[in-house]
């Protein structure tokens, strides 16, 4: 695959961070920490790696994306709006009555969402099944699945981790599947290491016969390189352990468990957005700031 335009992708990810804060502030609830830790991965997937057509969400040859950690769907909604699946304005309807943008992914309300997720631990199994189904159908499409580190405490994850590397042998190996761990180190109650330490996670995955790549999940060049490498690994799916920072880009949210599942107040969101943009505020962002300042006054 062609080298990524890093500056452009970083700019899209910055816009994603702003839009995540905007939609969560409007919603008054949701999960900023994990959305911000995953946005660089999703940006790379949606705007450099995946083949899809927003006008034909059911195109059979499309690459599939499953957000197993469904609570971070604001990051995906941004990518989908930016890609043209639906208008950007719709983001402010997140979690509101009658909106297709449910609090967790719903494939029946948003064409382009591949499966309902959010009940943690299930998306990986679905992704494995999709990868196998595509192989059986003779399709070249790839499947990407993002899981959370807290999420992989679920038993169902390990059921699928056990079977996926050998599945489909000898002719339909699921080497069209790439799983990416958003390893932000924090879950709802506390730090993952305090609730239920997963380490040594790479050793565990390798013991389960997965090829494992380890990267900085905020470095787009590293993300892209790992996804490139995953495409060259034949006979097995690939697992990318991405080390990330929960709340990445907003200093008062970074590494703070309390920002797992709490929406910012409008003034907090404005402060966060200014920090993300770092001094230069383009017109589109200025209007979001004005919109949030008006929300503050209400």
């Amino acid at each position: 695959m062609a080298n990524p335009d890093i500056a452009r992708l970083e700019s899209v990810a910055r816009e994603g961070r702003v839009q995540i804060l905007r939609m969560l502030t409007h919603a008054g609830s949701g999960h900023p920490g994990g959305s911000l830790s995953a946005i660089d991965i999703l940006t790379t997937l949606y705007f450099h790696r995946m083949r899809y057509d927003p006008k034909r969400p059911d195109w059979e040859d499309r690459d599939r994306f499953i957000l197993s950690k469904g609570h971070c769907v604001p990051a995906q909604y941004f990518c989908m709006a930016k890609a043209g699946y639906f208008p950007m304005d719709r983001l402010t309807t997140l979690r509101k009555l009658g909106s297709p943008l449910q609090g967790h992914p719903d494939r029946t309300t948003v064409p382009g969402i591949e499966a309902a997720t959010g009940s943690l631990g299930q998306g990986l199994s679905i992704a494995v099944g999709m990868a196998l189904g595509l192989k059986l159908a003779g399709k070249n499409a790839r499947v990407y699945c993002v899981v959370g580190d807290g999420e992989i405490q679920e038993g169902q994850i390990w059921e699928s981790l056990m079977s996926a590397p050998g599945l489909g042998a000898p002719d339909h190996h699921v080497d069209n599947l790439c799983v990416i761990l958003d390893g932000n180190g924090i879950q709802l109650d506390d730090f993952v290491a305090k609730v239920l330490d997963l380490e040594p996670v790479v050793d565990k995955l390798e013991a389960f016969r997965w090829p494992v790549l380890e990267i900085d999940g905020h470095d787009i060049a590293q993300i892209d390189k790992a996804l490139d490498q995953a495409e060259t690994i034949k006979g097995k799916p690939t697992f990318v352990v991405a080390h990330t920072v929960k709340g990445k880009g907003v200093s008062f949210m970074e590494n703070e468990p309390e920002w797992h599942g709490k929406a910012p107040k409008p003034a907090e969101a404005v402060r966060a957005i200014r920090e993300i943009l770092g001094g230069t505020v383009p017109d589109w962002a200025a209007s979001i700031i004005a919109e949030l300042e008006a929300l503050e006054k209400k």
Binding site: R107, A116, A131, L134, E159, S160
Partner: protein, 307 residues
């Protein structure tokens, strides 16, 4: 037709269907010899997947296969399958993944293995989900047609199959219709609505009842969800007394579905016969007698109810 277990009929017809449609695949969790998909796996090894004793992962895998255009039959004992309710709830039902869930070894009729292996709450659980129909065929002929229907059904569906042999209750001209109950015996005095394992017993009970001067109508309710409201109301309106019989918990199954229908639309005296406790080990005949699901038990329940 000789008596045959509905799981065996399923295994046979799946081979035929699989020959015609290469999208059909099976997923199992180490029970393929019991769910009777083993022959399919032997015949079509590239289309059969055994994930080990891991039912949640199996159901999720099936959801992904279905969403990628395959027609997966996800098979296990009814209790182990529906026991992974949360995965069925989100990955299959809410995702609208057209998985064909096949639960075998339902009811106390499995006998000696005891309660932990008995599917006794599967109907109750799946009735709570908006879009998964529940079909429980009564004999070989109906099973084969119901499985063929499941392939065509556009969404997810649950087939509830038995370990034990089922006597034929339909003649060769019978055609299964999804969503329809069929009258196996017309009668005037009481409607016996029955499904699955005890259907033959209900027909035998009707003979006993006839000697007592009671003319029982027997409805085979193969599609438990959605219920055939029209046929049930028609029969209940005619007889004025309804008895439901099922090898399932008395709570949440066919009896409850019928009670909800009659209670809302046409209050009618109702007696539910089913399992009121945990199951237990024992010989299947003895268990059916203990739980009132044999012909004698059904006849006694009807007589007591009518008096």
């Amino acid at each position: 037709m000789p008596a045959k277990a509905s799981r065996a009929a399923f295994g046979e017809v799946l081979l035929d269907l699989g020959a015609k449609d290469e999208r059909i695949v099976t997923v199992d969790a180490d029970l393929s010899k019991s769910t009777m998909t083993a022959k399919f796996a032997k015949t079509y090894p590239a289309r059969a997947f055994n994930v080990g004793i891991a039912e949640s992962g199996m159901i999720g895998l099936a959801a992904g296969l279905a969403l990628a255009g395959r027609i997966p039959f996800a098979c296990s004992f009814g209790c182990f399958l529906v026991g992974r309710f949360e995965t069925i709830r989100v990955s299959v039902a809410y995702s609208q993944a057209p998985v064909k869930l096949v639960g075998t070894h339902v009811g106390v009729a499995i006998g000696e293995d005891g309660y932990s292996q008995m599917g006794l709450e599967d109907i109750a659980c799946l009735r709570a989900l908006p879009n998964i129909p529940i079909v429980q065929p009564a004999d070989e002929l109906e099973t084969k047609q119901a499985v063929a229907y499941a392939v065509e059904h556009p969404g997810p569906i649950y087939l509830r199959l038995t370990r034990q042999n089922l006597e034929a209750v339909h003649d060769a001209s019978y055609r299964f219709q999804f969503g329809k109950a069929d009258v196996l015996r017309p009668g005037r005095d009481v409607s016996i609505l029955v499904s699955g394992g005890p259907v033959w017993n209900a027909l035998e009970a009707a003979k006993k009842l006839a000697t007592e001067g009671v003319d029982a109508e027997i409805l085979n309710v193969a599609t438990i969800k959605p219920l055939d409201d029209e046929a049930i109301l028609r029969s209940a309106g005619k007889t004025g007394h309804v008895v439901t019989v099922e090898d399932h918990s008395i709570n949440g199954g066919l009896g409850s579905a019928v009670a909800e229908l009659l209670g809302e639309v046409m209050p009618t005296p109702l007696k539910r016969v089913g399992v009121t406790t945990f199951g237990e080990s024992g010989d299947p005949k003895g268990l059916y007698a203990k739980h009132g699901l044999d012909a004698e038990g059904i006849a006694q329940s009807v007589l007591k109810f009518l008096r």
